[in-house]
């Protein structure tokens, strides 16, 4: 399957919708183990991204991702700004100036994004961060796409895996980010960044219209 600029716009719109609808929820999760701003931060960032998309009207998938990345960098305000900024910038670089992205390009771009956030924040799986969702989901995508399956075919599994890994952050103790200052008090709460990452992958799947 090929993914064009319209697909990526739809993806951003759906992601923004989830972040808006779940702004209070994400903020409550962050209030339990952080400073209670993740929902507000991400919603503000997504709105800034939509604004810049409509004012600059980028034409290629790579330009769209770059526009979103810069908007997130300037408006998110917390750790999620550089982290999500890196995700979108890395994907933009991987897309280059292609008009259409295929499943392999998409998998490569997501892998680059994962390497980007791991390089930036130095978190590993089990540290109770967004990497807990990103790493297994990207590995799953990569493996299946290399074996000839397409995103639409594996969407249900991708969303289920993202949700499972998001929930699996609950019993963990945070070792990175602001929540790590809480030590054992961070146990028993779902990580906000893992939760917004679940919406990221869910949106990527729903933008296909296959779900």
């Amino acid at each position: 399957m090929m993914y064009d600029a319209n697909y990526f716009r739809r993806f951003i719109e759906i992601f923004a919708k989830y972040l808006e609808e779940n702004k209070e929820y994400l903020t409550r999760l962050d209030a339990a183990i952080g400073d209670g701003d993740h929902g507000i931060n991400m919603d503000r960032g997504a709105k800034a991204a939509l604004d810049r998309l409509s004012s600059t009207n980028p034409k290629t998938p790579g330009e769209i991702m770059r526009t979103v990345g810069m908007a997130l960098l300037s408006s998110v305000g917390g750790a999620a700004g550089p982290l999500y900024g890196t995700i979108f910038m890395r994907m933009s670089l991987a897309f280059g100036n292609r008009d259409k992205i295929d499943d392999k390009n998409l998998a490569t771009a997501l892998e680059q994004a994962l390497l980007g956030i791991k390089g930036l924040g130095k978190a590993e799986v089990g540290d109770k961060t967004m990497v807990d969702v990103w790493e297994p989901v990207v590995n799953f995508l990569k493996e299946n796409i290399e074996n000839g399956r397409t995103l639409p075919e594996i969407c249900e599994e991708v969303v289920a895996l993202a949700e499972e890994r998001m929930k699996a952050t609950i019993p963990l103790q945070a070792r990175k980010g602001r929540a790590s200052y809480l030590g054992e008090r961070s146990i028993g709460h779902q990580d906000p960044g893992a939760t917004s990452s679940y919406y990221f992958f869910r949106s990527l799947c729903e933008a296909i219209g296959g779900r």
Partner: protein, 129 residues
């Protein structure tokens, strides 16, 4: 001439620490501070960090960056990634207040970039009592 870039979650800390550093120096050093979000709340504007860093790189021989918790360092590292790891910018792994003061003084004495970073990082083991 070197410059120092102070990053804080708090606009007040950024402003206040810049003032403290300026008071300590005599020589030629540029001190800049970025703190808080665009709206002036707690947080960091990672795009502004990138722009400030580019500006300081263009107008000085090297930049020492210091930050407080978490996301300020992520914003700084992100800027370095986007600029292709320029050789004349270093993030000092040091406590923000003491590190910035020491770095400012050291830079105003005309020390080279690596020496300023080293001096700032040494404050980690400074005993106050």
């Amino acid at each position: 001439m070197l410059s120092i870039l102070i990053l804080s979650h708090s606009p007040d800390i950024a402003r206040g620490l810049k003032e403290m550093c300026l008071q300590m120096i005599s020589g030629d050093v540029t001190i800049e501070a970025v703190g808080g979000t665009k709206e002036g709340n707690l947080g960091i504007d990672a795009e502004l960090v990138l722009n400030k860093l580019q500006e300081l790189m263009a107008n000085s021989d090297g930049v020492v960056v210091l930050g407080d918790i978490g996301s300020t360092i992520l914003a700084a590292k992100n800027a370095l990634n986007m600029l292709g790891f320029p050789a004349n910018v270093c993030i000092a792994d040091a406590p923000l207040v003491e590190g910035a003061v020491v770095a400012s003084v050291e830079a105003s004495l005309g020390s080279p970039l690596q020496e300023v970073v080293k001096k700032a990082e040494e404050v980690k083991s400074l005993n106050k009592l």
